[in-house]
């Protein structure tokens, strides 16, 4: 006990000079602000979202090969097509990087170009997904056909919804830039949108691997 109480009396580590009392302390770096508040918040949200996808992916893995009737993955997948749209989604991350670099330089023209390109790449991916979904349902797979249908549509559907949300976000940034509301002090908000966008891409790599690339079970 004595030891523990002792630590009470150790002197404080040197603290930064009092910043005065101009602001309510918002966004102001605390004792260990390695990340600003909004960025830390985004990282935390993404950590949480990882588990969201993790749970859906686990369900998909659990139910692999359990479909009883209706079409199976083997009969449906068009790997070259999905690989192509996946590649486009991955390339969009490059656009995001360039957009961020542009806004950090204060180059709004380039920023708008790249952010729009990123959004369009994302939209192409979503269009591919819509095409794929209609194709599958034309071939007789829907949510209630078999476990593959349930777990496939729900998992990829929620991922697609994430991409759509991201596209909306990117377009909003584009709009703010055209209206001159995206000053240099707002570059961080682009960075945060970028974190989200890259995350959605990385999640797709995992989903793509699990659904399309892993050898299909069964005969």
């Amino acid at each position: 006990m004595a030891i523990i109480e002792q630590t009470d009396l150790t002197p404080a580590p040197p603290s930064p000079p009092e910043p005065g009392h101009d602001h309510g302390g918002h966004g102001g770096p605390g004792p260990s602000a390695a990340l600003t508040n909004p960025k830390l918040a985004m990282w935390l949200f993404l950590a949480s979202d990882c588990l969201f996808f993790g749970a859906f992916i686990s369900a998909y893995l659990l139910y692999r090969g359990r479909e009883q009737d209706g079409p199976t993955p083997r009969e449906l997948f068009d790997i070259p097509f999905t690989s192509a749209t996946s590649f486009i989604l991955l390339m969009s991350s490059l656009g995001m990087v360039l957009a961020l670099a542009a806004i950090q330089r204060g180059d709004h023209r380039r920023f708008r170009l790249w952010i729009m390109a990123t959004a369009l790449f994302g939209a192409t991916f979503v269009a591919g997904q819509i095409f794929e979904f209609t194709e599958f349902s034309r071939k007789g797979l829907s949510l209630d056909t078999n476990l593959f249908g349930s777990s496939f549509f729900v998992l990829t559907g929620f991922h697609g919804a994430h991409v759509c949300m991201g596209i909306l976000w990117l377009l909003s940034l584009w709009g703010m830039s055209t209206q001159g509301r995206l000053g240099p002090e707002k570059a961080e908000s682009v960075e945060i949108a970028g974190l989200y966008w890259h995350f959605v891409d990385v999640v797709w790599i995992v989903i793509f691997t699990v659904i399309y690339l892993m050898p299909q079970p069964g005969t």
């Binding site: 006990m1 523990i4 109480e5 630590t7 009470d8 009396l9 150790t10 002197p11 404080a12 580590p13 603290s15 930064p16 009092e18 910043p19 009392h21 101009d22 602001h23 309510g24 302390g25 918002h26 966004g27 102001g28 770096p29 605390g30 004792p31 260990s32 602000a33 990340l35 600003t36 508040n37 830390l40 918040a41 935390l44 949200f45 950590a47 949480s48 979202d49 990882c50 588990l51 969201f52 993790g54 749970a55 859906f56 369900a59 659990l62 139910y63 359990r66 479909e67 009883q68 949510l143 209630d144 078999n146 476990l147 249908g149 349930s150 777990s151 729900v154 909003s172 509301r181």
Partner: protein, 630 residues
């Protein structure tokens, strides 16, 4: 316009349809406030209303079970009562009260002027309130949820037209819980960022008060526990409404997947409920014993250890589902292990009280009551970890007894300890101690009358969630005792409410530091000014405020410092001018309003309502994004 006139500062520019609200008093100010203290009060008051609702449901359950073959409720109504009772107590009482107290006191304890995200903070509150109203509106819209608070599949996931749970209740339940999950996730993020980035100079992590520490731990638990249950609930909703087959055994689906996902959330959830209580008594016991917390670091680290181990024991809720001997042995063992850090804490608290100069205030009585009752609940918990014993106990009243000893005897008693301890800080007046003692003793006696006999009833075979029992099973007397006990609890809660209302205007004036406190919240006036700290404090030790008041002489006796709390007085001279605080905002409310509308759209599968919800939500988000942060 001439050049002499300055352009209005950014924060006064108007955005969208709604003008930036300015009022800081009056009704409207409560709708738009971003002050963490007001939000804290809103959380606690809202949760107390739900506490009364959940209590009324419990009383109805107990009236039904007063004698054999009760006729107060039908079987269907009974199912709705225990489902809504459990759901309310966990999601609309336990979590919001803790979040409310955390909202109020975490920034004060770490010397911050506000939380990291004031508007997101308010958003979280609105989601909880609207989510609760959403769920309760089911009573008027075709029947309340009736699948139990953990909503096991395939009962809850059987398609709507299968006739198993025919009402809309289960859909309100899944959507309501998903909504509440959004709220808790946002407040978890807010707490973490606040604790990490907003501490005042010198407030290293190992100087943070234990209550703040526990709020940080549960914020992490919330962040990672909500997604699995969100996924599980989504699957249930899809199964019921859109024909997916996730939990349909006939199609190869696995109902146990639901149980895994639910309890991966559910077990951390019980720690989300109890850790704030442990944090509260770790504040009150030292103050009322005039001793530092015995083994601060150990208390903090065992809290963290509980947080980690809590992820590895979920399957102890599934011992009788046929997981196989290896799995259940492992989970039984892990469950016994988790009792160790818990037991350590109990000894820390006892060590704190031991040899101290104890003041038996109401808050202290509730704290001591907490230790005793929580220990009993913990012991019956260890009994559950022994698989063969649990096989006998599961789904009987023994389980009901166990979790009420930890939830009511643990969480609720600790929360009351917190109410009596912090009320003077919040309202500037003391709660009446005489009524307080009445409150404590009736609650303590009523609680034990209600829940102790349930141990025996359970071991004698009375099943839980069953709306009546036959005569002649030997259960009559104890069931009557239980029901009488539950009405004593209700009386006690009434005493508290009267006390809280009356004391607000007539209570004895508290002063800044009525208990001779140790932590920073006692260094400022009661109630605290809007900006909390006129000067951002600088902290030099753990329990810094105490060390500003007292020093020790050579024999270790306390000697008051002549300048005791001088800084507080110096600061009082400061009128707080020039401290910029974030402006109030409508948009957290608008954004949050979009969510229940989307919820109704999902339950009734109506595209137009969905569209409306989406428009409200998007309007809220955009207006919020454009509105300057402060």
């Amino acid at each position: 316009m001439t050049t002499v006139e300055k352009a209005p500062p950014v924060s006064q520019r108007e955005v969208g349809l709604l003008r930036r609200p300015r009022a800081t008093t009056g009704f409207a100010s409560w709708l738009t406030t971003v002050d963490h203290k007001k939000i804290g009060i809103l959380y606690v008051c809202t949760a107390l209303v739900f506490f009364v609702l959940g209590g009324v449901e419990a009383l109805l359950i107990r009236l039904q079970l007063f004698g054999p073959n009760g006729t107060v409720l039908t079987a269907g109504q009974y199912n709705q009562m225990f489902t809504m009772h459990g759901t309310t107590m966990v999601f609309l009482v336990g979590m919001p009260i803790a979040i409310g107290l955390g909202n109020y006191f975490v920034p004060l304890q770490i010397g911050a002027r506000d939380v990291a995200f004031p508007r997101i903070n308010m958003f979280g509150y609105w989601v909880v309130l609207l989510g609760g109203i959403f769920m309760y509106s089911s009573f008027f819209l075709g029947g309340a949820p009736d699948g139990g608070w953990f909503g096991y599949t395939p009962l809850t996931s059987a398609p709507l037209d299968s006739g198993f749970l025919p009402g809309r209740g289960p859909d309100f339940w899944t959507m309501g819980l998903i909504l509440l999950g959004v709220g808790s996730t946002t407040s978890a993020i807010n707490f973490i960022v606040t604790c990490i980035n907003m501490r005042c100079p010198g407030m290293s992590l190992l100087r943070m008060p234990v209550f703040t520490w526990m709020m940080l731990v549960i914020a992490f638990l919330t962040l990672f526990a909500i997604p699995p249950v969100t996924v599980a609930l989504t699957m249930v909703f899809f199964d019921r409404n859109f024909g997916t087959l996730f939990f349909d055994p006939a199609a190869g689906g696995d109902p146990l997947l639901y149980q895994h996902l639910f309890w991966i959330f559910g077990h951390p959830e019980v720690y989300i409920l109890i850790l704030p209580g442990m944090g509260i008594v770790s504040e009150t016991l030292p103050v009322f014993s005039r001793k530092p917390l015995f083994g601060y670091a150990i208390v903090v680290f065992s809290g963290i250890a509980i947080g980690f181990l809590g992820w590895g024991v979920w399957a102890h809720h599934m011992f009788v589902t046929g997981l196989g001997p290896v799995a259940i042995s492992a989970f039984g063992l892990a469950t016994m292990l988790i009792a160790i850090p818990t037991g350590v804490k109990i000894f820390n608290w006892l060590g704190t009280v031991w040899g101290g100069s104890v003041r038996l205030t109401t808050s202290m009585l509730f704290s001591l009551g907490f230790i005793a009752m929580f220990t009993i609940g913990g012991l019956s918990g260890v009994m559950h970890s022994v698989v063969p014993a649990d096989t006998q106990q599961t789904d009987t009243y023994f389980v009901v007894a166990h979790f009420h000893y930890v939830l009511f005897g643990g969480l609720i008693l600790a929360l009351f300890a917190g109410f009596y301890y912090w009320y003077p800080k919040v309202f500037g007046r003391m709660l009446d101690e005489r009524m307080g003692k009445l409150n404590f003793w009736t609650m303590f006696i009523g609680f034990n009358l209600t829940f102790a006999p349930m141990h025996f009833l359970g071991l004698w075979g009375q099943p839980r969630r069953t709306y009546r029992y036959d005569e002649g099973l030997g259960w009559e007397t104890l069931n009557q005792l239980v029901t009488v006990g539950s009405f004593i609890i209700a009386f006690s809660v009434l005493v508290f409410i009267v006390n809280a209302v009356v004391s607000k205007s007539r209570g004895q004036v508290a002063g800044d530091d009525p208990w001779d406190g140790r932590t920073l919240e006692w260094s400022i006036s009661s109630p605290p000014p809007e900006y909390n700290f006129a000067e951002v404090p600088e902290v030099h030790s753990r329990d810094d405020f105490w060390h500003r008041k007292y020093t020790e002489d050579d024999e270790g006796r306390l000697v008051p410092l002549p300048s005791g709390g001088a800084e507080a007085h110096a600061a009082a001279g400061h009128d707080g001018h020039g401290i910029h605080l974030p402006s109030p905002s409508y948009f957290p409310l608008v954004t949050a309003l979009g969510l229940p509308i989307l919820g109704y759209a999902a339950v009734f599968q109506n595209v137009w309502i969905a569209l409306l919800g989406a428009v409200v939500l998007l309007y809220g988000i955009y207006a919020w994004a454009i509105e300057p942060a402060d």
